[in-house]
């Protein structure tokens, strides 16, 4: 009897989740660590975050200043291009709308750049309108360096390589500048629902 009950619960969960799972993805319950290099350890008193490029005057925050910005708690599904998806991940951070508030720019593109040298590119409109955050807590705990702490980007509507770990700043640019993976085979935009993994997808 209990076996049958368990089976039914499992089936309902699968049905409910399939509409949340992009094509070609599978669900994980752990949190895999992906890294293209050594993990940078950035002391909070040396950490800064900057908005630069096509902006009259760059805006920068040290850790203390950044933590005074209004925060949001968001729960999102994340999708890695290596095919795992993780549902209902909880984050605390500052929305890009707040960070970019009042910024006037003609730029249509952005480049996220990180401690350690990683870069990834996005249209500016993918960072605004409640779609992106700079987050510093995962499940209520400070973000571990392996997962991008002190702070990382969260852009959950795109594959997770578009959410840079160890974020150091965002450059506003007039011309699109493909980043670390986008210059070597990975799709320039990376929409998981259209399965945009590689060049030409």
């Amino acid at each position: 009897m209990s076996f049958i009950s368990r089976g039914f619960r499992g089936k309902r969960r699968d049905t409910a989740s399939s509409s949340r799972l992009p094509p070609g993805q599978y669900i994980v319950t752990d949190y895999p660590v992906l890294s293209a290099g050594p993990t940078p350890r950035i002391p909070l008193n040396e950490w800064t975050f900057v908005i630069e490029g096509e902006i009259d005057k760059p805006r920068s925050w040290n850790w203390e200043e950044f933590r005074k910005l209004p925060t949001e708690q968001v729960t999102k599904d994340i999708h890695c291009v290596t095919k795992w998806s993780k549902f209902d991940t909880g984050w605390t951070g500052v929305s890009m709308d707040k960070i970019l508030e009042g910024v006037e720019t003609a730029a249509e593109y952005t480049v996220q750049f990180s401690y350690g040298g990683y870069t990834t590119n996005l249209p500016l409109e993918d960072l605004t309108g409640g779609k992106a955050w700079v987050v510093y807590e995962f499940d209520g705990q400070p973000l571990h360096p392996e997962h991008g702490g002190p702070a990382r980007m969260l852009v959950p509507h795109l594959y997770f390589w578009k959410s840079a770990k160890w974020i150091r700043g965002i450059r506003l640019v007039n011309e699109d500048e493909p980043g670390f993976w986008e210059t070597n085979g990975y799709h320039n935009y990376g929409d998981p629902w259209r399965e945009q993994r590689y060049w030409g997808d």
Partner: protein, 91 residues
């Protein structure tokens, strides 16, 4: 900023099979000159990060990215721009 060596780091022997697919010969004894620091290392000695969307090879002396290898959708993408010269036996 300090950098802590990650458990995810492997050496170049980890990509021996992948490089054999691409070059159709054994490559771990090949010697690459880093385009950043100029030091020469055998492929077997480089630092390799594989828990990533692709394979990232870094210079063991200066940490510069030497190779990026992406395999997917029936294709390879190979960036060797971090290696100034790659020497290997024709035998």
């Amino acid at each position: 900023m300090t950098v802590q060596q990650s458990d995810l780091k492997l050496d170049g022997n980890a990509i021996g099979g992948l490089l054999r697919e691409i070059f159709t010969m054994e490559m771990t004894a090949a010697e690459g000159t880093c385009s950043s620091c100029g030091k020469v290392h055998a492929v077997g000695q480089v630092e390799v990060y594989m828990n990533a969307p692709g394979v990232v090879v870094r210079c063991p002396a200066c940490g510069q990215v030497q190779m990026r290898i992406v395999k997917g959708g029936g294709r390879y993408w190979l960036d060797l721009s971090g290696i100034r010269c790659l020497e290997f036996s024709s035998e």
